[in-house]
Amino acid sequence: MDFLAAITPLELMLVVSGVMIGIVFGAIPGMTATMAVAVCLPMTYGLSLNNSLALLLGLYVGGISGGLVPAILINIPGTPSSITTTFDGYPMAQKGEAERALKIGIVSSLIGGLFSAVVLFLFAPALADLAIKFSYVEKFLIILFALTIIASLSKNLLNGAISGVLGIWLSLVGTYDLNTGGNGDIRLVPGFLEDILINGFSLLPVLIGLFGLTVILEEAAKGVPPEPLSHFKLGDGKPFRFSVFRGHFGTLFRSSAIGTFIGLLPGIGGSAASVLAYAQQKNLSKHPERLGTGEPEGVMASESSNNGLTGGALIPLVSLGIPGDSTTAVMIGAFTLQGLQLGPLFIGEHLDSWHEIMTNLVLANIVMFLVMFFAIRHIVKVIQVPKHLLYPLIVVMCAVGSYSANSGIMFDVWTFLLFGVFGYFGHKVGLESAPFIIGFILGKDAEVYFVKSIESYGNLAIFFTKSPIAMGLWVLIALSLGYAFYQAWRNHRRECGA
């Protein structure tokens, strides 16, 4: 427990600030935890790694948790992962039980978050120990597996695949790095842009543009509709009592486990976790017909699963260097800024930072609970913050974050604008941000592992025959593709039948 005593007052303050800012972002419909982390990245430039982690994990947990506020009060999910909270939370609010629903959601979020932290603590080092034995071949196959999962669980298989491959393609723009065994030549860049694209597109401006600016452009296209100032009441119906959880420990445990498992899969957002947990709840509930009419167990399932995602998404991040969701993808940017490489060696070589991650994750969940549970009457006012004041400030933060990412390069601001606009039009033609960004992050590593494997062994068969792990990974790849094709076929049949 030594590391608990090592929390400095500054770290505590950063966790609290991160949670509070995250809650604000999560509670405003259209803004997400990913956006909170992207927008606040510039604040980490002047902080040490441990302090950055405190802030970012606070933002992550706060951002995911804040989404329940508008979901319950005005039937609009603050974040995509709160979509199923609206199903029972809003009907409860209409019955005059808004405060009770909010508090059930907050406690469930705490349980989901702590459950996932325990799984992270137990599972990440074991996965890292296994991954440390991987050669270039297995590392390439892990990335291939991650990309096939992302594509197969996307809304549309083809769009997900195109998004992921496009992300890889754009990550290859620039020089084939000498430091990774490349030949130092430039590729995929027209001659007149060679000077500015010699190092390709920087990760941070791309992330900030995609997750910060795209949302604002989408809102602008809709005319920035005035806020639903809403005449919500917290209600004076049934008061909240912890006894509401009696008989629902199975729900909390199962939904937290589903959320954590979904978090483990790269690129799958919290909405998939909460939808899956809610569907399971409906299957296993004693009164499935009541779900959707204002049942507390619906809120419990949804909120424990989406917070269960947080620790789950950190498992592949710290043990394999593969982000579990879009928010942890943005966090990779913070680690890169600090000169740290996430992957199998991370836990062993940076034990302090690993303990910091664990401590701050638990702390962030506790702070989230305390802040939201006891100040919920004030937090609900966040929904009323006018977007015409908030959006310009977000653009300013994004611009300065992009500019400072590489210590002052104006091209990074243009990259941020370019990818913001690209994200907007990409969404219009069906491209998906999560597969794209994960492809972008993993593209260069995929190239190094693929080319080095071939240079070492001189044949393609090695990808299938290198080791039992490689064969096992091919089975997983085949299963994820098989699942994707089955889903696509089922959707097609449903559409034809409709």
Binding site: N183, V396, Y403, W414
Partner: protein, 144 residues
């Protein structure tokens, strides 16, 4: 024994193109599949898709969207140019952000009451000032 067709050698001088070529071909292949499947869907249901497009166009706020794009470009260009006037001080960022925030807030606001305009004015001056002070003076970050 590895079959001959599975043997691959990479010429080091051309190694920077090896993986990008594979990715490019995969991307082109997927894009072609996408174009073909969408064209088939369009041919089957062109009337419905045209109706969807028309509906989407009706809800599109051209003025706010277009003006946002223009403001973003002007903001970036102005910040870049003025940073030559006040190099390494962050003042270019500060003044451009004030003007940008005021313009964007006025573009997005729906209710032009006096109180709203005062809040916009205060927010446009104070927010960039706080960001500038925190990042440039406390964290010593390079700002334009």
């Amino acid at each position: 024994m590895v079959p001959e067709f599975l043997r691959v050698t990479i010429d080091f001088d051309q190694s920077h193109l090896f993986f990008p070529r594979i990715v490019t071909w995969i991307l082109v292949g997927l894009a072609l599949i996408g174009v073909v499947s969408r064209s088939r869907a369009f041919v089957r249901n062109w009337a419905g898709m045209c109706r969807d497009c028309a509906d989407a166009a009706r809800g599109f706020d051209t003025r706010r969207f277009g003006a946002t794009l223009v403001l973003l470009v002007v903001y970036a260009v102005a910040m870049d140019r003025l940073s030559d006037v006040w190099p390494n001080t962050g003042l270019s960022f500060l003044f451009c952000s004030m003007a940008f925030m005021a313009a964007m807030s006025l573009l997005y606001v729906h209710d032009f009451r006096r109180k709203t305009l005062i809040v916009i004015g205060l927010s446009s001056i104070l927010s960039p000032l706080v960001v500038w002070y925190a990042l440039a003076k406390l964290f010593f970050l390079t700002l334009p």
